[in-house]
Symmetry: C2
Subunit: 277 residues, 2 copies
């Protein structure tokens, strides 16, 4: 089912600015036992993205009601919120006070092999550059052609995810996930000052790691530094944490710290669900 | 009127990859005396963009027929061709052999003040970064949020165009045009290796300049170099050439070489129209 500005519909105007210019944002939210996971964090990120782009943010209660409507008879799945600047304006220049268009859609839960969690994944090294721009860094915008081209490079049966670098060789993130590496007991994740998406799960992992006493460094890193890692993992709102078992011809065990963070995360999400957080 | 895959329609599927991921390309074509201008160049660029993105290019004759259908009772205007990868795929990963969706739309000719051509324009210096990526450089993709944000910075009544630089300070292009500068009688235009759109009019201007004996340099340039220019102009398929009369607090006359190129361009487009080229 798709709700477009609250109505059950399947189409949008051909002149919507989301289509014409990628002028919008999106969120991908896990639905577990019929309830959205980390919903407040997703809403907060959408709100902060709207502020940076000058988009009108829909009321949080409206979004919550529509998510509820989509999930009513569902147990497990994904709700995607797409927010565009709607139609209108003059070329790239948006109309003032243009109303946003919101698209909320429910999607089946993807099949994820258990071994991705127990043994880790094969991580591909993408040749496609990730775009850099201070103006868009951190945002989950509708401009995702980098990621589309990157995923065309490899087959899903060989690699579960691919790691992207900018044209200067800085490792930024996976095509659909954020990267963490562990070096000498500290946690490192790429700085997102120049590009990449500030993932809701990235923030959650950082918070849990800090609570458990780990030092977390957000830093520029190149492939050589990643290769020094003792442990590697990627994360996002749907997959949670996937340990990496192979990257750039180097093999890794599912490390102790990664395992601890996976346990902490599962327990924290469970607490959230039970309203104990 | 809008033709979507040849049918008169106004909407596209809400899961079109153009909307979801900016997964597509577009062309903006001048219609003059009922005929598309530089049509072969636009079709060639679309073809080359399709090859880089792995999109299926529609047959040129099909596009020509649909443009003709849109322009049948029109004298002056714009035809926009938008090509997306259509619906389908699994997240960012496109389906194999996915059929493209093509949207052809007719738009009224914009009112452009005569003084933009005779006295030149005020060129704004945008703070929004233009994204850099070798993988997408030169392409006119649907990911144009940089340009949307940049145009939000200034009012159209003050500046006719804005100049964008990447985060390292390289001047790349206008929000909707390519930049040329003249220094000591030579023509310079930013290299598009790291970003920017390889404009059809940029290629035309380069060809005309070279035919007329000018040296043309495609090169990295920073704002300091631009400020040394004796003449500056911007160009695209709709505006043709706009001389710049003010940029970064410096004033310019409409220079001799810019004037010559404007004359050469007008005459060449006229020849194309009369089939003498």
């Amino acid at each position: 089912m798709i709700l477009i500005n609250g109505e059950i519909k399947k189409t949008v105007a051909a002149d919507d600015r989301g289509l014409m210019y990628g002028d919008g944002l999106f969120e991908t939210i896990e639905i577990c036992r019929g309830m959205p996971v980390l919903l407040q964090q997703h809403i907060d990120r959408l709100q902060s993205g709207c502020a940076r782009l000058g988009l009108v943010m829909p009321a949080a209660d409206l979004l919550k009601n529509e998510i509820h409507q989509l999930c009513e008879y569902q147990n497990k799945g994904i709700v995607k919120i797409t927010l565009t600047r709607g139609s209108g304006g003059r070329g790239y220049r948006p109309a003032e006070n243009s109303e946003s268009l919101r698209i909320l859609s429910f999607h089946d839960w993807p099949e994820i092999p258990d071994c991705y969690y127990t043994n880790g994944i094969n991580l591909y090294n993408c040749k496609t550059d990730i775009s850099t721009s201070r103006s868009l860094s951190g945002l989950k915008t509708l401009c995702r052609l980098d990621q589309v081209l990157a995923q065309r490079e490899w087959s899903e049966t060989e690699f579960a995810e691919g790691l992207m670098s900018d044209s200067a060789g800085h490792v930024i993130e996976g095509t659909k996930s954020n990267l963490f590496i562990i070096v000498n007991g500290d946690l490192y994740t790429p700085s997102l000052k120049m590009g990449g998406v500030k993932g809701v799960m990235r923030e959650k992992v950082i918070a849990l790691a800090q609570q458990s006493g780990l030092l977390v460094h957000k830093t520029e890193m190149k492939a050589d530094f990643v290769k020094q890692a003792d442990e590697l993992f990627v994360c996002n709102s749907i997959i949670h944490i996937w340990p990496v078992r192979q990257y750039a011809k180097k093999k890794y065990e599912v490390g102790k710290i990664t395992g601890q963070l996976m346990t902490l995360l599962a327990s924290s999400l469970d607490q959230d669900f039970n309203g104990n957080d």
